[in-house]
């Protein structure tokens, strides 16, 4: 059984992987087995950094042959090293799962030896967990770039989700900061898995879909390299389209390693927050990357991307809440997919006024400037006034008098990413 010391080392090395979702798979429990997957996903705990714990996030080993500059486990780094055997990982997963601590396993690994050897050990762990320990819960497996494609596609038959991290949003940055990885080494296996999943879905003979039921995700570090938000969003959009990804995770750069090529300071979490907002617009609100930000542009800091888009396109507003089609409702700042759905339902039975919307808990702080309710307008028509008002409402107390000697503190909203 694994001891606390090694668990600590292997988890601390794995914690910078953002993904912890356990949704998308409906794997059922088998007779005599333990566990199943819940399609909506379940969060089992939350850490003081506000993230959820859903899966047991752990590395098989943190002895790495690669030397990616931003990574705390890179070969040159002087950190405690440890590894675990497949059995230890399986036993820990089962023990935690039976106590309802976790929803499943998130298994990753440093490149210990060669990519193939690492992937083989990970595959062995997963197969053991499924076959010997009879585990039917959720498994998320991190793919190792440059591992044999047969290993990858075999693993995909046992796990619910796989992910390869793009890490840096351009090839030039990748070459500079992660010399052993290349664009192809990450994108090729993603493409291969996407193709195989599509082929599996088209195979009508099979009743149960067992090939990566929860699909693929990826992750990018934001702020370690000079790419703009517009560029990052275009990359995300392309990956969503080509590889049918479920999610792209953005992780704002935290300096765990010092190096001349890397920035000294944390990238504010606000940038990450804005990217996620834009990402949601891409996936659920029918926006294109082009509409949200130009190629060389960053997302605005003082208002959310949808608000920024609306302020640029004031000629489309205000829209009448009782008649506007869903696509237009979704483009009103402040109205989310749930709010739009509620409006669609409710207006079939009664004409909606401003007070009705407030009662239905549709957020009107921003929306009031862009809608009419039963012909009446409650906001301000002048875009300049609207812009000023939205900013004032958002962060009236953000500014302070700086003294000569105080270190410029990051405001709370830059830390938490919330406004």
């Amino acid at each position: 059984m694994i001891d606390a010391e090694r668990l600590k080392i292997l988890t601390e090395s794995a914690k910078y992987d953002v993904s912890c979702s356990s949704s998308g798979s409906a794997r059922a429990n088998k007779k005599g087995g333990v566990g199943n997957a819940s399609p909506a996903g379940i969060c089992h705990s939350f850490t003081p950094d506000g993230r959820c714990i859903s899966l047991l996030k752990i590395l098989l080993s943190n002895r790495c042959a690669y030397n990616c500059l931003y990574c705390p486990n890179r070969a040159d780094a002087d950190v405690p090293r440890a590894c675990a055997t497949p059995d230890e990982i399986c036993q820990l997963t089962i023990a935690f799962y039976r106590r309802n601590y976790i929803e499943g396993l998130f298994l990753s690994s440093a490149v210990d030896g060669s990519p193939d050897a690492t992937m083989e050990r990970m595959l062995e762990t997963v197969i053991r967990l499924r076959k010997v320990y009879n585990f039917n819960g959720y498994i998320h497996l991190k793919g190792i770039p440059r591992a044999d494609r047969l290993l990858t596609s075999r693993a995909a038959r046992y796990v619910d989700r796989m992910s390869y991290n793009v890490e840096l949003p351009s090839e030039a940055s990748l070459r500079l900061l992660a010399p052993q990885k290349s664009k192809e080494s990450v994108l090729l296996p993603m493409k291969q898995l996407a193709l195989e999943k599509r082929a599996d879905a088209e195979d009508k003979g099979k009743r149960r879909r067992t090939f990566l039921p929860a699909g693929q995700t990826t992750q990018m570090i934001v702020g370690a390299s000079p790419e703009t938000d517009g560029r990052i969003l275009r990359l995300s959009e392309a990956m969503y389209r080509k590889f049918s990804l479920k999610r792209v995770y953005y992780s704002s750069y935290v300096p765990v390693v010092r190096h001349a090529l890397l920035p000294e300071k944390c990238t504010g979490l606000l940038r990450e927050h804005r990217l996620y907002q834009a990402d949601w617009l891409l996936r659920f609100y029918g926006f294109t990357a082009e509409e949200i930000a130009g190629e060389g542009e960053n997302l605005p800091e003082d208002c959310d991307p949808k608000c920024a888009w609306a302020l640029k396109n004031m000629h489309l507003f205000p829209v009448e809440i009782n008649r506007a089609p869903l696509e237009m409702l979704l483009r009103v700042p402040g109205i989310g997919s749930l709010g739009a759905y509620r409006i669609l339902q409710a207006r079939r039975y009664a004409v909606l006024g401003f007070a009705d919307l407030a009662k239905m808990r549709v957020v009107l702080k921003r929306a009031k400037h862009f809608i009419t309710c039963d012909g009446k307008f409650y906001g301000s028509e002048n875009p300049t006034t609207v812009r000023t008002m939205l900013r004032l409402e958002d962060g009236a107390a953000k500014y302070e008098q700086l003294s000569m000697f105080s270190s410029p503190e990051v405001s709370l909203s830059a830390l938490t990413g919330q406004l």
């Binding site: 988890t11 910078y16 566990g35 199943n36 969060c43 506000g50 009662k359 239905m360």
Partner: protein, 244 residues
């Protein structure tokens, strides 16, 4: 004005609703203590199978899914749950068709909110429930939810931990769901229950706490969000938060 006092069960509520439907300003409650207004008359309601069945039949005729809505509302842990359910039932019968989607109607807004509170808590406890291994190999999970959700979460754990005998104990209501690996029953329990734990329990609990500490990124503190998702009142039974 009449005050109908029920015993808190669904059947008793439907019996009370039989009389209360047309009784314009009446109150149905199952609270043990409540404030009587001047001129109020207390009516103790005894469950009546025939009246209950008549009301239920009407409700089902209007909307087959409505009994489930009402059942969820009646699981709320607040004293006004019967009135919310009555408001919903009145609107339903007056309309004669499903009213679920009339999201701008006050009675539906209230009903949907209360329902949401119950289903949200049930979903949360599929994650926040913590089992401890007992000496006899039976896993024990105490919790104290705001709403009566034991029956809502049991099917989830029966599917998931089918090979594992367990007891889920609602300490706030003195109810326990007991599963022996084959069948599950719900029983009333004593106020205080003593469960001897297996020797390995402390070890795994310690590993879990270590994991919880290790997976946190200290450079990005955001306690407010943690408490928003995982309210402090649930911490009592979470090993990783107990004593913090």
């Amino acid at each position: 004005m009449n005050v109908y006092v029920t015993d808190g069960t669904e059947a008793c509520f439907y019996t009370a609703a039989f009389a209360a439907y047309a009784d314009k300003d009446c109150v149905i409650t199952s609270a043990k203590r409540f404030q009587l207004s001047v001129g109020a008359k207390v009516v103790r309601v005894e469950t009546d199978a025939e009246k209950q069945e008549r009301v239920l039949r009407k409700v089902r005729a209007c909307d087959p899914r409505a009994p489930r809505d009402i059942s969820l509302i009646l699981r709320r842990g607040c004293d006004t749950r019967e009135m919310t359910a009555l408001g919903y039932l009145r609107l339903l019968v007056r309309t004669g068709a499903p009213v679920r989607a009339r999201l701008s109607h006050p009675a539906v807004i209230e009903a949907e909110q209360e329902k949401r509170k119950v289903t949200l808590e049930a979903h949360r406890f599929t994650g926040f429930l913590r089992f401890m291994e007992g000496q006899n190999g039976v896993y024990y999970a105490p919790f104290a939810p705001d709403n009566d959700i034991l029956e809502l979460i049991l099917p989830h754990f029966l599917r998931r931990l089918a090979d594992q005998p367990f007891v889920i104990h609602d300490t706030a209501r003195g109810l326990a769901g007991m599963y022996n690996g084959k069948e599950c029953v719900i029983v009333q329990t004593a106020e205080k229950v003593d469960v001897p734990l297996a020797e390995s329990e402390a070890y795994f609990c310690g590993l879990w706490k270590e994991y919880y500490r290790a997976v946190n990124i200290a450079q990005r503190p955001h306690e407010k969000q943690m408490k928003g998702y995982m309210p402090v009142r649930y911490w009592k039974f979470l090993p990783e938060k107990r004593g913090t």
